[in-house]
């Protein structure tokens, strides 16, 4: 530990934004010190990513889309000092960042769930817009969680946040499990009927204490206003029996590791703001749902800060400090317990600032490692010595494929407004491409209600890549500005350079240039040339190098 502090003192840079004490080293330096302190000697030769690797990776991770060829040119040719730091800040400032992070949060919070009856759920674009606005305003995580848990669907601004409940059919058992998993990093499913037989720290009393917050909730469909609301009762207690021991117990609402919170004593006539009747959303005077929304997102809540920093770490670094991210317990500890604590405390001390945290992660040498293996025995993933190979999400894949056509970039040039007050117009440019992106997303999306697991490509997805007629149309000379300009470029060496920059965000190797030349030299007939160019683009698009974030 002394070594880590000393290393930080020597290399401490300027304090990052967020009101942090200037005497505390920047988080990204702390991260690197912790990670490298655990390494055996031979890993100290682990290499940093090239500019090309870094550009593609950070663009995908912060804006959900690969850069254009023009952006790649600019960044790779720039000799500006600190260009990586400036790139990170530029990407975080773009509206695309909020647009992308909203989808990441949506995936985390709903795992593609939809209410069994679609019309009982919040429409997806309303929910995504709620998240996008929250990210855009850099709403602190604890406040966002509070909004989500408090929402009963009625409020204009936070109504869409009720999607967390509605997408789970407001089923208390499912809510209990997922609140534990998604906000606290623990999966209490097997502790519903007895203490979890596998993990001593997952107790039935913890499950039932959490259950007590949500078991009075139900779905109410207001047919007149076509609204989906959360109704709640003022009574109902939780009594539970262990099917192993036969012991019976009762519990008030209680967060794992926390104290039980009994209901206040209220006279019968005082218990409801709106009494339960048919065709009415019952609203109790004392709401256990609102209690949950106040109590859970606190630094004192066991696992609350650790869970979110671990999940954010996992999205950027490909592997959590606790893995799986929803199964933290004594026999599944963090690979770097001190670092996890440091991250959690930093997050709390910077007011749960997600944007700042992502920035620090991106600035770290740990994040900026190459995906090429160092010499010697291969390090395990938990060493974080090598950048992992991660699949692009379905949305990243869809948007990146459209990006490669260069149709989006062309629209940016032609459709940019004269003097916009801000950058929000950028998101309008993407809208016409949604149907094509959705075509890709439906082929690559994971199952509803399942967190994304390790990379598991399917033959059905390969069939899509090989045979979907639309993919061939998107990369026809008529539709794709990229294909069109490559066809029109006489010098095959130049074609190779532009091709690789556009599709793979890097310059081609000498061999690759030779390959392109052999395919295109002396091919001047238009349709033949178009076919070959399209083939080159699609051949590279279907490669593992495109499919993976590396």
């Amino acid at each position: 530990m002394g070594f880590i502090l000393a290393a930080c003192a020597l290399t401490a840079g300027s304090a990052p934004p967020g009101g942090q004490d200037t005497a505390t080293p920047s988080l990204h330096l702390l991260i690197d010190a912790h990670i490298e302190a655990a390494w055996p000697e031979h890993l100290l030769t682990a290499t940093a990513s090239s500019d090309a690797e870094f550009l593609r990776r950070v663009s995908l991770d912060l804006t959900g889309i690969v850069p254009t060829a023009a952006e790649a040119h600019r960044f790779l040719e720039s000799e500006e000092a600190d260009k990586r730091r400036h790139l990170i800040d530029a990407l975080l400032a773009r509206p695309e960042h909020a647009w992308h992070l909203a989808r990441v949060l949506d995936d985390m919070l709903t795992e593609r769930r939809v209410n069994t009856i679609k019309s009982y759920d919040v429409p997806r674009d309303r929910w995504l817009e709620f998240l996008r606005r929250a990210v855009d305003a850099n709403r602190p995580w604890d406040r966002l969680v509070g909004d989500i848990l408090a929402s009963d669907g009625s409020d204009e601004m936070t109504g869409p946040a009720a999607k967390f409940y509605l997408s789970r059919d407001v089923k208390p058992a499912l809510l209990t499990r997922d609140i534990g998993r998604i906000f606290l990093g623990i999966d209490l499913q097997c502790a519903q009927c007895h203490d979890d037989p596998r993990f001593p720290d997952y107790r039935q009393a913890d499950y039932q204490g959490l259950f007590a917050f949500v078991h009075r909730m139900s779905h109410f469909h207001d047919a007149d206003r076509k609204a989906n609301l959360i109704a709640e009762k003022a009574e109902g207690d939780v009594t539970f029996t262990s099917v192993f021991t036969g012991d019976i117990d009762t519990t008030d609402p209680r967060l794992p590791g926390g104290l039980a919170i009994p209901d206040p004593q209220l006279k019968e006539e005082e218990r409801y703001q709106v009494k339960p009747e048919s065709k009415v959303q019952s609203i109790p005077t004392w709401s256990r749902r609102l209690l949950l929304s106040r109590e859970l997102p606190q630094r004192e809540t066991h696992g609350f800060s650790q869970n979110i920093v671990n999940r954010l770490w996992a999205t950027m670094l490909g592997h959590g400090l606790v893995a799986p991210v929803d199964l933290h317990h004594a026999a599944n500890p963090s690979s770097h317990p001190d670092l996890l604590q440091a991250l959690a405390r930093h997050f709390e001390n910077t007011n749960y600032n997600i944007r700042d945290f992502l920035r620090e992660l991106a600035l770290s040498k740990t994040y900026q490692r190459s995906s090429r293996l160092p010499a010697g025995p291969r390090p395990t993933a938990a060493r974080f010595a090598v950048a992992p190979l991660r699949p692009l999400s379905a949305a990243q894949l869809g948007w990146s494929i459209l990006q490669v056509t260069e149709r989006i970039a062309t629209n940016f040039q032609t459709d940019a407004p004269q003097s916009p007050p801000d950058d929000s117009w950028r998101l309008d440019i993407y809208e016409p491409f949604e149907p094509d992106v959705q075509l890709v997303v439906s082929a690559f999306q994971g199952l509803s209600g399942q967190a994304d697991g390790p990379f598991a490509p399917t033959a059905g997805q390969a069939l899509f890549f090989l045979n979907a007629p639309r993919l061939n149309q998107l990369f026809s000379r008529e539709w794709s500005p990229l294909v069109s300009r490559l066809v029109g470029t006489a010098d095959s060496t130049e074609v190779a350079s532009e091709l690789y920059l556009a599709v793979l965000t890097r310059p081609p190797s000498a061999d690759e240039v030779v390959e392109v030349c052999s395919l295109l030299d002396d091919v001047s007939e238009l349709s033949q040339r178009s076919e070959r160019v399209r083939n080159l683009v699609l051949g590279l698009l279907l490669s593992a190098e495109f499919r993976l974030n590396h």
Partner: protein
């Protein structure tokens, strides 16, 4: 209750449960055990009566009682055993069937029923039968997906409930609608075979370069799916029912259930581990008796043809044919002449894979309760898997966590397993 598990099943699962399995790729590069090659593969054909078939109008009639309705019962090829007059063809082959008359699932909801009956668990997130079988019985040489699900278009909201759960997208049932080949099996017209080949060379060459100095597993996993895809494209004709004789198409029935069952036979013969055929519209809340005449009319002849066919072709020994819905129907006949949802005492039938032909369990005189041999959907799940050579008492071995295959509180029905 534990059943002795044949040694080959254990070793096959060990083969497949290594880290490559978790990457969604069958254990390639591992030497195939000789046993795996010569062992005859078990298959499951699940005929799902979506909506809930009435046990009164099928396997457990109660003629002459106040709950029995207008139909009579008929004798079968098993002396002393009668089933509904709506299933005359099935009656002729009852000596080959196992009928369970004593199911108490406690579920009378379509959505929950579709999930729990197929998953064998009440807790959500578990994979359905088809996905389980696909994962447990897969072999590295397989080209076809392990689980294919056939149904007509125009599903109800509950028709597709239940999926591969935590086993992930790889074991998700390939959905075939109206017996049409799945999407993207054919090279688009605008791309010649030569172009396709050249395009693929570019892809493969780039993968070779990208592999240099990088962790190989994800790159191999991705590349292998293209090999599988090309192999799948050569199997397109499997979905062409024109290749079956017109006699067979007539015998199976010129309706979606019949066509799908004929397609199912083709797919199972070609090596698919599980085919599910959904027979729709059993939810007879109104005019129950007319409805069952129609549904049983379709179901009965196709089902009997299937069982006979499989038997004659020597396939019944290794194929488990299961016919059931997500629940039964109420003893009480409502004001529209319908029966409503009923999970307390209902029936199913199955054949093949060493299951003993017999009648298991019974209900009381008017069918309002199970009288004897009560089982639930978890027990049925255990039974199906055991017949297929899978020990449902074991856990899945997946990266991240272990989970029991069958509900630990349930057990296979010993009386029907030989």
């Amino acid at each position: 209750m534990r059943f002795s598990v044949p040694q080959h099943t254990v070793s096959r699962r060990q083969l497949l449960s290594g880290t490559l399995g978790a990457l969604g790729v069958s254990a390639c590069g591992q030497p195939l055990l000789a046993e795996e090659l010569t062992q005859r593969r078990k298959k499951l054909l699940l005929l799902f009566q979506s909506g809930g078939a009435s046990q009164y109008e099928t396997w457990d009639p109660k003629p002459g009682t106040h709950t029995g309705g207008p139909f009579q019962s008929i004798p079968t090829s098993v002396p002393g055993v009668h089933i509904s007059e709506l299933l005359p063809h099935s009656a002729e082959i009852l000596d080959q069937l196992t009928v369970i008359r004593s199911i108490n699932s406690g579920i009378n909801d379509h959505f929950f029923g579709h999930y729990a009956i197929q998953a064998g668990h009440n807790l959500p997130g578990h994979p359905v039968l088809g996905s389980v079988v696909a994962q447990q019985l897969e072999q590295s040489r397989d080209i076809l997906p392990g689980y294919i699900s056939l149904r007509r278009d125009g599903p109800k909201a509950y028709t597709d409930v239940g999926d591969a759960g935590f086993l992930g997208a790889k074991y998700e049932g390939l959905r075939v609608i109206n017996a049409e080949p799945p999407e993207y099996l054919v090279r688009p017209e605008s791309v010649s075979a030569l172009l396709m080949q050249s395009r693929d060379q570019i892809r493969r060459r780039n993968d070779e370069r990208f592999l240099q100095g990088r962790r190989p597993a994800p790159i191999h996993a991705y590349r292998d799916t293209f090999d599988k895809a090309f192999a799948l494209m050569t199997q397109r004709d499997l979905f062409n029912l024109e290749q079956e004789s017109s006699r067979d198409r007539e015998r199976y029935g010129e309706h979606d259930f019949g066509r799908h069952c004929l397609l199912a036979r083709r797919l199972l013969e070609a090596g698919v581990s599980c085919v599910k055929v959904t027979h729709h519209d059993w939810d007879a809340h109104q005019e129950n008796f007319h409805w069952h005449e129609v549904r049983c009319g379709e179901f009965d002849r196709t089902f009997a043809t299937l069982v006979r066919d499989f038997s004659e072709r020597g396939l019944l020994e290794d194929t488990l044919i299961v016919a059931m819905g997500e629940m039964g129907r109420t003893p009480r006949i409502n004001q529209q002449g319908g029966r409503d949802h009923w999970g307390k005492a209902w029936s199913m039938a199955m054949a093949g894979c060493g299951i003993k032909p017999c009648i298991h369990g019974s209900t009381n005189e008017d069918g309002t309760e199970v009288a004897d041999g009560e089982v639930n959907h978890g027990d049925l799940f255990h039974t199906f898997l055991t017949a297929l050579g899978i020990d449902a008492n074991e856990n899945y071995q997946l990266s991240g966590q272990t989970s029991p295959i069958g509900d630990p509180a349930c057990a296979a029905i010993a009386e029907v397993l030989s």
